[in-house]
Symmetry: C2
Subunit: 254 residues, 2 copies
């Protein structure tokens, strides 16, 4: 299988390397950022491309992994290619690709990728959508090359998944950050919280989060809630977050 | 070493079983809830106790693992015991134990315990405080039986740690819960988010959370932020949380 990658950021890098490892040929890497394209092309033995005229029109698949607001523009250059065109975005509807390739769809890996950290894709859910069943089969076969978890998810569901991921991943990481800074202010090491953070994530792998909710809010321990708000007196911003999330826990559980 | 446990909840259960496994003798388990006391006593081959008059006065250590607001009352019954008295609370100052035993202090395991799940205590930070250095050595020796991570933490720092743990654990779990319910409303499985949740927790084991912050807020992707708020239109409560945490991410990063 021949694949052209459009984009050379975190998602493009992880997917291109993984496809290459599974025996696919990455024939070209297109990127606005020619330096990134060259790096990813070097790793995957592909040709870096900067100009749309040089794009190979005959690949089996074109994987668009660029910023959401650049997808439509990129798609306008893929009207005549003779392969399947997919984007990898959680928040962008499939139909932005209408008219491209010989079929189009979405290949959305539900994971957070950093350039510096290898992610085992085998357990990453790949959410797939396609213009028609023939294309779906092709995209699903590609996804199964990388992962054991492949699910059909339409554009509306994908939007919800992406939103839910903001709560479960982006906001969660920000809470880690706030707690880390709170400790730092008091000469305490963030290391102390790391086992707790891991255990909290482990727990919900086999139990519904609501069943393992702990802390002062779910116990309606008003004295501790008040003490905590007092401790945050110099940080009205943290007080607001503490109050809102504690109220939300109470609303859910009490 | 002989230990008496006061309390039979999650923390008491995990600690008593772990001490027993390391060769300590759990001689009594006191609990208001005699049924729980009987269960824990049976597991650890201890005697269940309900009445203060029956309390063995000669144990090496008395571990108080009851609700925060019950610690002071429990302590009033431990004035004359001939051993070290510790409580295990993150939010309670050490001096509530003043006058008890032949020395007193705190043995606070920074972890979230559920009855149904075994936790490997080896990596759990045990935060220790004591009335004097002799007591400190005794409590530290006990902690080292269970864990490789033992830290001296005074009452004020412990309060901050406990507060930081609310952000990093309790609030985080609640965000998992909110995302789980959002998916459920749209016939999507929470399973899809589980690898992402794990990876988010793994990432900060070796990297500062601020360095791996992802999502629309940190990119200042106003279009996606607006779309997400629209998607939450029927849930003003979730909109508030989304807005506040996104603003907080922007405030931190932009």
């Amino acid at each position: 299988m021949n694949i052209v990658f459009i984009g050379s950021g975190n998602v493009a890098t992880h997917l291109a390397i993984a496809f290459k490892a599974m025996g696919a040929d990455i024939i070209q890497v297109w990127s606005r950022d020619s330096r990134n394209a060259e790096i990813l092309a070097a790793i995957t033995k592909a040709t870096p491309v900067k100009c749309w005229d040089s794009l190979d029109q005959t690949a089996d698949c074109y994987v668009i992994a660029v910023k959401d607001d650049a997808i439509a523009e990129v798609a306008s250059h893929l009207q005549d290619v003779r392969g399947v065109v997919v984007h990898t975005s959680g928040a962008t509807e499939m139909d932005v690709l209408k008219g491209t390739g010989t079929g189009y769809g979405v290949l959305y890996p539900l994971q957070t990728f950093s350039k510096t950290k290898v992610v085992d894709l085998k357990s990453v859910p790949f959410c797939i959508e396609a213009d028609r069943s023939e294309t779906f089969e092709k995209i699903a076969a590609m996804a199964h090359l990388l992962s054991e978890s492949v699910a059909e998810v339409n554009s509306e569901q994908r939007r919800i998944l992406h939103l839910a991921a903001v709560f479960a991943c982006n906001f969660t990481n920000h809470l880690y950050d706030l707690s880390s800074k709170l400790l730092q202010q008091h000469q305490l090491k963030f290391d102390l919280l790391k086992p707790l953070i891991l255990e909290t994530a482990f727990k919900v792998q086999h139990t519904q989060p609501a069943e393992v909710q702990t802390g002062p809010a779910v116990r309606n321990d008003l004295l501790t809630l008040e003490k905590h708000l007092d401790l945050l007196e110099g940080s009205p911003h943290l007080q607001d977050i503490y109050q809102l999330l504690s109220d939300s826990i109470k609303k859910t559980h009490l």
